[in-house]
Subunit: 166 residues, 2 copies
């Protein structure tokens, strides 16, 4: 009797794996996350338009991180950034966050060119804060792992919102 | 001795939880996926620009799914769509996929208005296939769970690429 039950179970397992979820020929993939490793606990906007919408409606500045998943400089900053609880907390509570591996069509997001990693702040008035820069005069919006304190003080700057021009 | 080892372990646990990853006040969140439940094994574009880029460079049509996470109609189609292995396989192998919970600024993606769920095909020539429609004359790009066969035949249509106008 036990044997009979067992074989029914085995049949069920076989059936459920045949009719199971689609698996690509190249093998099962890990689902992509919107965070891409920059902070799994943050609520990420998917697109720049969505980020702007949330920024305006919640009156919080938007942070846009341009990066590439196979760029060692991006990865190095990402590691420090995602492991810094103070940054993560401030981002979660006071900012709208967006990370992009593609450039947008909006030229204001590349004040001195398109490069990665590049971190740009946008005020809820939809003004790109080109005045909030990092340490490097040739790539003003780039940060390296050692610049994390500067990044944090730039976040504090961005939290002081511009007055609405209306 | 065992007691001593135990208390060291407890101290280590306490330390590691203090210095652990950031957890929001409202509790730990499940990381957001780019698939949003429409197929965890597919490789999703994040933005329309990215989708168009991959569509052109790989010469595959782009599918854009407009939906809302708390819309029952979207959810119903999503369930059938994500569980249909034939659709998932075809999407994975022959299409570029994008799902959006926000409208883009491109009006061509809303030929008869902005509503969800709405599925729009775009040819690699960057032409929106307004000719590939569902069953409903008032919402031509809407699909319901029963329309999954029609959706599949529309995918076959979209795979027959338009000739390049060049």
């Amino acid at each position: 009797m036990i044997k009979a039950v067992l074989s029914v179970c085995l049949v069920l397992v076989a059936v459920s794996s045949t009719f199971g979820k689609y698996i690509p020929k190249t093998g099962k993939r890990i689902p992509q996350t919107l965070s891409r490793g920059w902070g799994d606990q943050l609520i990420w906007a998917q697109t720049y338009e969505e980020g702007l919408f949330w920024s305006r409606s919640r009156n919080k500045p938007l942070v846009v991180i341009f990066h590439l998943e196979d760029c060692p400089h991006s990865k190095a900053v990402k590691k420090v950034f995602s492991e810094d609880n103070e940054i993560q907390k401030m981002l979660d509570e006071d900012f709208i966050v967006l990370n992009l591996v593609y450039e947008t069509t909006d030229k204001h997001l590349s004040p001195d060119g398109q490069y990665v990693p590049r971190i740009i702040f946008v005020d809820p008035t939809m003004t790109v804060r080109a005045d909030i820069t990092g340490r490097y005069s040739n790539r003003m919006y780039a940060y390296e792992p050692n610049d994390i304190k500067l990044l944090m003080s730039n976040m504090q700057k961005a939290k002081k919102l511009l007055k609405s021009e209306l």
